[in-house]
């Protein structure tokens, strides 16, 4: 029963989207809310039925999709995907709530958003590379329209930039996939080729990609190609330029889901595809990747510090925070992986909350110039309190969800010094820079907080109406989640534990 429930989970939003388009436009919001609540309930029941001790995927459905080249429709959930699916479902309800007041054609907005949801679920549940790719790319299209239609003044530019950048990434992935097809179909020991992610992690295939294997040259290329594909999505510093544009132009709910879930696809895919498939290449290039991650942390933080646009600041803070994800994965330690994963969940909550907090003010002030604000706390003390929670969680204050991920990544980075053949000096330098990122983060968040919330209350904001119940509900939910995941990390690690054990074995780091 749960197997089919997972299928329904992926396609229920599609049904909701079609309903939104067919039924009268004023019903769309209710349909969308209903759909998201139903999917949330589905997700929760899947989470309850999930056996936490199992390493492999559960609720697996396998069907032949394109028999001619052995492509399967194969979906399932494991510890790596389940928390992100829950995050997606939970955020979706809030995003529909945040988009409640969308003015222009709400039915199309909700329909596109629900299609996007299907895409996100599909990405996290696919166990076949072609299927993964299809969902990965399908999720771009609704996003393009969501930014392009409902966005700010430079929406068209931002939308096409987002689409082209991410598409360039997916094309790198596609080349690798075709290469893998070529490898597996010419290897004698496999019956035909395969795109099955689990089968590709088997020892037989891994032997081909090992330094002694026949396809070592290919594996190194494939590692970088897939890395770039997902690095664009994460986004890792040199490939991040689409993100500030997309975020600044996107409407608030779309920013929330973009930062909250879509970026996580990149990190998830690194853990799901790049690292388990090409572990030897990963350990060969780990210094390079880790440096890129640290560069992202510092660079993103410095950029955030220089922003005068509030939303752009939050957008650059995403670049910086997602740098920890890259770093945590790159250092190839168990703690690093755990930390990177937790950072994704934590950032999913905090970034959505930060964008929402910005959105609440932007809706009233119609500008986001940090220097033109001031004294918001005096105006709305309650809002100020929740803002403090949200931004401090983003900053990584102990006891809130941003802290655990960051600290585990840093610990994981220092642990890397124990790995064989690793130069400890390099690790220490790396770790110090990453830790310095935490200071920078505190710097830009506190400085921003001071300029916007502190000080004298300003006259031009006197007439502002207070956040309404709907807005408070969203803030409070996210705030409680930030607190909850700050004190009870086991909520996530219970689910991921067994799968990560397996993942470490596949990557060949079982001991570390």
């Amino acid at each position: 029963m749960y197997d089919s429930l997972l299928n329904w989970l992926i396609f229920t939003p599609c049904i909701g989207a079609v309903l939104c388009l067919l039924l009268p436009a004023d019903k769309a919001k209710n349909i969308a809310l209903g759909t998201t609540v139903v999917t949330l309930l589905m997700t929760l029941s899947l989470a309850l039925a999930f056996e936490t001790g199992m390493q492999g995927p559960q609720f697996v459905t396998t069907l032949d999709w394109i028999p001619a080249i052995n492509v399967q429709y194969k979906i399932g959930l494991d510890g790596l995907s389940l928390p992100l699916v829950v995050l997606t479902s939970a955020l979706s309800v809030l995003v529909v709530g945040a988009g409640w007041k969308i003015g222009k054609s709400p039915n199309v907005f909700m329909a596109l958003y629900l299609f996007l949801m299907s895409g996100m679920y599909g990405v996290f549940c696919s166990l076949d590379m072609v299927l993964f790719y299809v969902f990965f790319e399908i999720s771009l299209l609704p996003m393009y329209f969501l930014i392009g239609i409902w966005g700010g003044p430079r929406k068209e530019y931002a939308a096409i930039k987002f689409f082209l950048y991410t598409l360039a990434g997916s094309v790198c992935l596609l080349i690798t996939m075709l290469g893998i097809y070529n490898v597996t179909s010419s290897a004698d020991f496999i019956n035909g080729n395969t795109w099955d992610m689990m089968a590709l992690q088997s020892e037989a295939v891994q032997a081909l990609f090992a330094p002694s294997g026949e396809y070592w040259y290919f594996a190194r290329w494939a590692f970088w190609l897939t890395f770039i594909a997902f690095a664009i999505k994460i986004p890792v510093a040199p490939f991040h330029t689409w993100l500030p544009d997309a975020h600044v132009e996107a409407p608030t709910p779309i920013s929330m889901i973009l930062a909250g879930v879509l970026l996580k696809m990149g990190g998830y895919a690194l853990m799901r595809i790049t690292y388990p498939l090409f572990p030897d290449a990963a350990s060969l290039f780990w210094e390079c990747v880790a440096t890129i991650g640290v560069f992202g942390i510092i660079y993103g933080a410095l950029c955030a510090m220089a922003q005068t646009d509030w939303k752009k600041l939050v957008a650059y803070s995403s670049v910086s925070h997602m740098g920890y994800v890259t770093l945590g994965i790159a250092v190839l330690t168990r703690t690093g992986f755990d930390g990177a994963y937790y950072q994704m969940i934590g950032h999913g909550i905090t970034s959505a909350m930060m964008f929402f907090l910005v959105g609440v003010v932007y809706e009233r002030a119609h500008h986001r110039e940090i220097n033109k604000f001031g004294g918001l706390w005096l105006k709305w003390p309650q809002y100020g309190g929740w803002s403090m929670l949200g931004f401090f969680a983003g900053m990584g204050l102990p006891g809130l969800c941003g802290f655990i991920g960051e600290v585990m990544v840093l610990l994981g980075t220092f642990h890397a010094a124990d790995r064989a053949g690793v130069d400890p000096t390099f690790v220490y330098i790396l770790g110090s820079f990453a830790a310095f990122g935490v200071v920078l983060t505190a710097g830009y968040i506190l400085w921003m907080f001071q300029r916007i919330y502190m000080g004298k209350s300003r006259e031009e904001y006197e007439h502002f109406e207070k956040p309404n119940a709907r807005e408070y509900a969203i803030m409070v939910t996210l705030g409680i989640a930030a607190l909850l995941f700050g004190i009870a990390p086991l909520l996530v690690f219970n689910y991921t534990h067994a799968t990560f054990e397996n993942l470490m074995a596949v990557i060949g780091l079982a001991g570390s």
Binding site: D64, W65, I66, P67, A68, I69, V130, Y133, V134, F135, E137, I138, L141, Y144, F145, G148, I149, K155, E156, A159, I160, F163, L164, L167, A168, V171, L174, I175, L178, G179, Y181, N182, S185, S186
Partner: protein, 536 residues
């Protein structure tokens, strides 16, 4: 010689059975021309006759079942000049389906008096072109290649200029004729070289000559000349200049027809020539050289088509350049046919043609509707169209996205299968796949242009669009079928790929050199090499 064989009559009958699709087309052509003597100025009757004839041709093409090795041998008819094999049969089936759809499109769009008077002429020309293309798919020796190409081209020239009083149509048609005749001359010149070198018109003999004599300069000149002729039909760079002008000037039905059928047929012909070379020639260097040459042609065509399309503001011209780049993708696929197991590529090509047919038909039908109702093909004039007719705008976006290769739509599956075949061809294949994908990325820019104007840009006040009058149900049916086919091939491609795979083989027969077989009848010394799998 043929008549001295006591078996000639049964042989002839057996051969005729296999060319039934073409025979049906010829008969229908004659019937359509007789119709005006019975009822002048009637559209329904000639259209009915045409569709009936095409249906019969379709069934005949379907009826050719050659799957066993023995019966494949019989697929070579009329002294090996035509090869009737699963590949060509499936292509012919697709061609007939497409021709029926084009006839339907033409019938729906025209309703005036001249339309009715022109009906028999138009349909006869269309059938003639279809006949030529059907032959192109089977052409197996130089003479037949030339005849088939010409009999496909000459009606096409007339079709392109069918809007007699339209300046653009006349210009396009003239350009088409001039380019066509130059490329025919080029092709004939190349063929004469090939004949001079090998002493035979058979593709297989020419390939064997490469084995015995190597790649002589004359052979290279001959092959390049012939490829030049093919490039014209494929609208490959640098023989593509006719394409945008013809597409813009010709009636939309003709544009639709030419953009798919003529390119598909030319691809079949190219694939057959390459398959012959690939099966018989065993010198790896020569094969790599040919693959490089054809691959470069495809890569340049695809890239050039895409680059120029970036600047287009007219919907039809944009689609013309898009079709050039798609031809480039298919040529790239053909190029690696020499280097890998042919079945993969052949079936991918068939699938590609199947999908390509529906996306182009859909896109051009929308273009025709827009041209007729709004009087403009400038994309920028479509600002705000999405609000006025969301269904039509959405359909155009679907077709454009499929042409671009969005997963979930057929266009992606076509490219994906082609890529999966191409990647097996080592470095050349990998580079070609890279070029294909790179092209896909920047083609997105122009494929999204209609969506951009229709949705994102608001209509200007000074020039408001005349609303689109309710369309006839038949138009919605055509568009709906195209859209459904794209989703079907994109989401559940298994049926399509299975059919393509079942038909993804081509017969290649080597006829031994004439001096060895003086005392034997040509038709009896066929030595079929059905598949090249054996030695790869």
């Amino acid at each position: 010689m043929l008549l001295s064989d006591p078996q000639w009559l049964p042989q002839l009958m057996a051969d005729l059975k296999l060319v039934m699709p073409e025979l049906w087309l010829v008969v229908t052509m004659c019937l359509v021309l007789i119709v005006p003597f019975i009822r002048k100025g009637n559209v329904v009757l000639p259209v009915f006759v045409t569709i009936f004839g095409l249906m019969m041709a379709l069934l005949a093409a379907q009826g050719v079942h050659l799957d066993s090795f023995e019966s494949l041998r019989q697929g070579l008819v009329f002294s090996n000049s035509l090869a009737i094999d699963p590949f060509s049969s499936l292509f012919k089936t697709l061609l007939m389906v497409f021709a029926i759809l084009v006839v339907a499109q033409w019938t729906i769009f025209g309703r005036d008096k001249t339309h009715a008077l022109d009906a028999p002429d138009f349909l006869c020309l269309l059938l003639g072109a279809t006949f030529g293309m059907s032959l192109m798919a089977s052409a197996n020796n130089l003479i037949m290649i030339f005849i088939a190409t010409e009999s496909a081209s000459i009606p096409s020239y007339a079709l392109a200029g069918f809007r007699k009083k339209n300046k653009m149509a006349t210009e396009g048609s003239l350009k088409y004729v001039l380019f066509g005749s130059v490329s025919s001359a080029l092709m004939l010149y190349g063929m004469s070289m090939l004949y001079g070198v090998s002493g035979s018109l058979q593709l297989s003999d020419i390939a064997s000559t490469i084995n015995t004599d190597g790649m002589t300069p004359l052979m290279v000149v001959g092959l390049v000349g012939m490829l030049g002729g093919f490039a014209f039909k494929l609208s490959a760079v640098p023989m593509h200049f006719w394409c945008p002008d013809v597409f813009e000037g010709a009636p939309t039905e003709v544009t639709t027809f030419l953009s798919v059928a003529s390119k598909g047929a030319a691809i079949c012909m190219l694939a057959r020539v390459i398959q012959n070379l690939g099966t018989i020639v065993y010198n790896e260097e020569v094969l790599t050289g040919i693959a490089l040459g054809v691959g470069a042609l495809g890569a340049v065509t695809a890239t050039w088509g895409n680059l120029v399309a970036l600047h287009q503001t007219n919907l039809k011209r944009l689609l013309a350049y898009s079709s050039i780049s798609h031809a480039g993708y298919m040529i790239m696929g053909c190029a690696v046919l020499l280097l890998v197991e042919p079945k993969l590529i052949l079936s991918a090509l068939l699938f590609y043609v199947l999908v390509y047919m529906f996306m182009n038909l859909g896109a051009f039908t929308v273009a025709a509707v827009l041209e007729r109702h709004l009087g403009t093909l400038e994309i920028a004039d479509y600002a705000g169209l999405f609000k006025k007719s969301p269904a039509l705008a959405s359909l155009l976006i679907v077709f454009m996205l499929s042409l671009f290769g969005m997963p979930g739509l057929g266009g992606f599956m076509g490219k994906f299968l082609l890529g999966a075949g191409m990647i097996k061809a080592g470095t050349i294949g990998t580079v070609l796949v890279g070029i294909l994908l790179l092209n896909t990325v920047f083609s997105l820019w122009y494929y999204l242009r209609p969506a951009y104007f229709m949705i994102f840009v608001d209509e200007q006040d000074d020039q408001s669009l005349p609303g689109i009058a309710p369309l006839r149900p038949a138009i919605w049916t055509i568009l709906g079928v195209c859209c459904a086919m794209l989703f079907w091939t994109g989401l559940l491609p298994a049926v399509g790929t299975d059919i393509a795979q079942d038909n993804g083989h081509m017969i290649v027969a080597s006829v031994q050199n004439a001096q060895d077989t003086n005392n034997q009848h040509t038709s009896n010394v066929i030595e079929p090499i059905a598949k090249a799998d054996a030695h790869r």
